[in-house]
């Protein structure tokens, strides 16, 4: 059954004020187009969970969408500070809940597998465990040794960008696969954005590459270039220049507002955004081919 809808419809239907959102992707395939659509639809009081809030949540926080962030590394990757989230935390205007990467990902793993919590070996880094009461220590019933546990994370909505999916939402991802699969299985609803919508025969030709089955997906949106300024492996490069530029933009509230006005509120959708970026940027982010060797599944 086709679940194809526009991204605007998907956000309208599945993202509500007060929801916990997990926009997935570790540096790779961050669904910026969905973040921008949520900003345009003026959602409020969202709880924004991501291992690395990245620029997508910096922009959503700047636009007033969030009341809380849940994270494990709050920086502009490769550049420095994530200025807006940081300033809001320092000013006491934004709630936060913090983990290490493994703690954060373990929460998703529990959520995705239907477990109440996940155990981890101790790290003896007690200060974060004291600061965040969600970290607990329990006794391993088999050895009597302490293990650290974190509770399942179950976002209301996961937003996952993929290279290709069929209209049912069977989705294939390659390159850095971060926590896309875990976020999708942990969430109550899944919005999928895809560079390409392909015939199901293409998905079936390489089933090992399917990380997300269509039956857990609610909406499938065809959104080419969805992840810019993040990237999609094999489709376009990470816009490192923009990540550095954001460091300047985000240091001034006026420049940030001007950015949102021009690049988020000022465009209708991702197509318009991508066209607006212009051919020079398109050329700069173009990647050349590097095909894998085909595998033979055999005919049976």
């Amino acid at each position: 059954m086709s679940k194809l809808v526009s991204l605007s419809q998907a956000v309208q239907q599945y993202v509500h004020d007060g929801d916990m959102i997990y926009a997935a992707g570790f540096t790779h395939m961050i669904p910026f187009a969905a973040g921008h659509e949520i900003i345009r639809q003026k959602r409020r009081n969202l709880v924004l969970a991501r291992a690395t809030p990245d620029l997508i949540y910096d922009q959503m926080v700047a636009a007033g969408c969030a009341s809380k962030v849940i994270f494990s590394y709050m920086g502009n990757p490769g550049v420095g500070s994530l200025r807006i989230v940081r300033a809001e935390l320092e000013a006491g205007r934004l709630e936060w809940e913090e983990y290490s990467h493994f703690g954060m990902i373990s929460r998703l793993q529990a959520g995705a597998t239907g477990l109440p919590f996940m155990p981890m070996n101790p790290t003896a880094a007690g200060d974060l465990e004291h600061a965040n009461p969600n970290y607990r220590t329990v006794t391993d019933p088999y050895t009597g040794q302490p293990v650290v546990v974190v509770p399942a994370l179950k976002p209301d909505v996961a937003i996952v960008h993929v290279q290709r999916a069929d209209a049912d939402g069977n989705a294939q991802i390659w390159g850095i696969i971060g926590e896309q699969k875990e976020a999708a299985f942990a969430a109550k609803h899944v919005i999928l954005t895809a560079e390409e919508i392909v015939d199901q025969a293409i998905i079936r030709s390489d089933p090992n590459r399917t990380l997300i089955p269509g039956f857990i997906v609610d909406a499938v949106c065809h959104v080419p270039y969805c992840s810019h300024p993040s990237y999609t492996q094999g489709y376009y490069d990470r816009d490192n220049d923009f990540y550095m530029e954001w460091d300047k933009i985000s240091s001034s509230p006026e420049a940030t507002q001007a950015y949102l006005d021009e690049w988020v509120y000022g465009v209708k959708d991702r197509d318009e955004y991508w066209q607006k970026l212009g051919s020079k940027t398109h050329k700069r982010l173009k990647v050349s081919k590097n095909l894998s060797s085909p595998v033979d599944y055999g005919k049976y």
């Binding site: 540096t27 003896a124 200060d127």
Partner: protein, 258 residues
């Protein structure tokens, strides 16, 4: 032959590269540690296995990655896995030899603060936080840290303990049941500090031209100096050539100080 000149970032990177052994499996951080690992791979450690927390195993980056999740890490790698897998199957399981750490503050026992300056609930300066630091410090076999030698970076007391070095001393780390050897070297632009039998960082080597007085004056605790204080070999022309011409030709990380 004229004397070679180099920046403090180049000095840090070259001395960090020398800590790696051929065949090590290393959990690579972005920035100078990434350059150090690639320098080692191009010199004495061609069989270095580079693992990135984004879930990439056996990366051979063709360009300098700005972020820890750059696509160049994936193309040509041995394997790519999920973030859960990289932390669980690789790091927690004990399959990582070396972890490179960063942090705003480090104390005399090699504990790290990467979280906050000031009070946690009312931060004066909010830093990015742990990322993978908590687990790398606890579970990698050997941990190293690169940082400029400045008093504010080596305080008597941390504002927040993000990641474990030797906690309150070597025995405490053992009692806490952590795997791995803890913080085995802190490389600065003045020299190298290594833990003594109690786990306290002691100045064990100086770079050419630096003095123990300089190091002590730029350390927030009463820094002990090893009786057999060594001098590190100066960066070689070949090490500098690889760094400047092959690894960071635009000088993104190497220009100026660290």
């Amino acid at each position: 032959m004229p004397e070679l000149t180099y920046t403090s970032s180049e000095l840090l990177t070259i001395n960090a590269a020398r800590l790696l052994r051929d065949g090590d499996t290393v959990f690579v951080g972005v920035g100078l540690p990434n350059l150090a690992c690639n320098l080692a791979r191009h010199t004495h450690a061609p069989n270095l296995m580079m693992i990135y927390e984004a879930g990439v195993i056996g990366a051979q980056p063709a360009r300098l990655p700005l972020s820890i999740g750059d696509p160049t890490l994936v193309s040509g790698a041995l394997s790519v896995c999920s973030m859960y897998d990289i932390f669980a199957f690789y790091l927690q399981r004990g399959n990582v030899d070396v972890g490179f750490m960063g942090g705003a503050q480090i104390d005399r026992f090699g504990n790290i603060n990467a979280t906050v300056i000031g009070d946690y609930q009312h931060p004066k300066v909010r830093l990015p936080g742990s990322g993978g630091s908590m687990e790398i410090a606890a579970w990698a076999n050997r941990c190293y840290l690169l940082t400029p030698h400045q008093k504010r970076r080596f305080p008597e007391k941390l504002d927040f303990r993000t990641s474990a070095g030797f906690l309150g001393g070597r025995g405490e780390r053992q009692a806490a049941g952590l795997r791995g050897g803890g913080m085995l070297a802190v490389v600065t632009d003045l020299g190298v500090m290594e833990p003594d039998e109690n786990g306290e960082l002691v100045l064990t080597a100086l770079h050419p031209g630096a003095s123990a007085e300089q190091a002590r004056a730029n350390t927030g605790w009463d820094l002990k100096v090893a009786s057999d204080l060594k001098t590190t070999p100066a960066p070689s022309a070949e090490e500098l050539r690889i760094l400047r011409e092959e690894l960071d030709p635009q000088g993104i990380y190497l220009k100026g100080g660290a």
